[in-house]
Symmetry: C2
Subunit: 223 residues, 2 copies
């Protein structure tokens, strides 16, 4: 086992993240860091978004998992370029892992990159990857108290998508309480409700994402 | 921020965990480390188990969360002794945190202790707390692929409870695939299916738990 020192790791990670971002900007690629608990629907939301992208947007995906290529296989079936990172036990992606994965993508052919982080509502929030947007996906079955219990990741989010919202009644999900918890730590963050199963909410989420990435000066919408 | 070195932390943690276990054994307390993703139903399963314990079993609970006392409040409402640990961002409980929490419990009045870990399917598996049993709770809405993606925590489990099983049809949950994933890394582990909402499966889980803790020579069932 290596003996990393946490502060040094975070500093080194930040430096590589800044370089990643410059590389992405130079190549005209908008980048979304997708974070959520295990099973909240990260891959499903990416797939639902891919299916709704405007003409001219050329997506790619980096999949982060401790083990397996289950998610990357689902993306590859759609004909979208995808790279799988297996962290081998590591609880989050970091900027050097993303750098290594980038080298397997032809960024000149891409203008929107989703980076699906390891399923974890805590650790990924500490590691910048070089992204333009941090997306946190919540899930109705997890319960509406999650923002109160995991404030860090919600505090850092640029946008929150609440998925599996078609089951809100089944789980007696209190949207007002959920959003109150988010706004306590992140007052102005955008919040969407989706169901990847029914497709509800995916059109407006995708439209917002494209607009936001264009406004940030990324390659999305620049053509 | 502190500058911890990972290997040293794990060694120091193991030492305190061993001491914790000796203290628990000396006090005749059986200890269960409860691990799961956010929202899988850790607190609900503890509450459902508390309600079904045999006479003579005196429970207590240590609640681990990054922030809030939502879960501890639910336990306290049942009149069960409970201590809340707020990790302040830390992604798992460790043995020194449990040691500190123990000092707030009268162990002579207790023979069964649940330690609810932080909601995280990765990091808690690396930190022994001094427990007799590691319980991993899965949840149907998370999907049946989770053992393939998070093998470490399933490999170390003494028992797995699959919760929210009343919704297996809604989520097209494949039990055979889920159990195949678990058995790939942990061939003989006990697996239960429960629904804390309907109560299904809780009687047999609780009966097994009591028997197992008695067989391990803890205070449970020793009277």
């Amino acid at each position: 086992m290596k003996v990393p020192v946490v502060t040094e790791i975070l500093k080194a990670n930040d430096q590589v993240a800044t370089e990643n971002r410059e590389l992405f900007r130079g190549a005209g690629v908008g980048v979304v860091n997708v974070m959520a608990s295990p099973g909240a629907g990260k891959t499903s939301l990416i797939l639902g978004t891919l299916a709704r992208l405007s003409d001219g947007i050329e997506p790619a995906v980096i999949e982060g998992d401790i083990a397996s290529s289950i998610d990357a296989d689902r993306i590859a079936e759609e004909g979208v370029p995808v790279v799988q990172i297996n962290t081998g036990g590591n609880c989050h992606l970091d900027a050097p892992m993303v750098r290594a994965a980038m080298s397997h993508l032809d960024l000149t052919e891409v203008n929107l990159l989703f980076i699906e982080n390891v399923g974890n509502l805590i650790c990924p929030s500490n590691y910048r990857l070089g992204e333009d947007l941090k997306l946190v996906i919540g899930s109705v079955p997890e319960g509406h108290d999650k923002p109160f219990k995991y404030p860090g990741i919600f505090a850092g989010a640029d946008v929150v998508v609440l998925n599996k919202d078609d089951l809100a009644d089944v789980f007696e999900f209190d949207h007002a309480e959920y959003e109150r918890g988010i706004r306590m730590v992140n007052p102005d963050v955008e919040i969407f409700r989706t169901s990847c199963r029914t497709g509800a909410g995916l059109d407006s989420w995708t439209a917002w994402l494209e607009k936001r990435l264009a406004a940030l000066g990324t390659g999305v919408g620049a053509a």
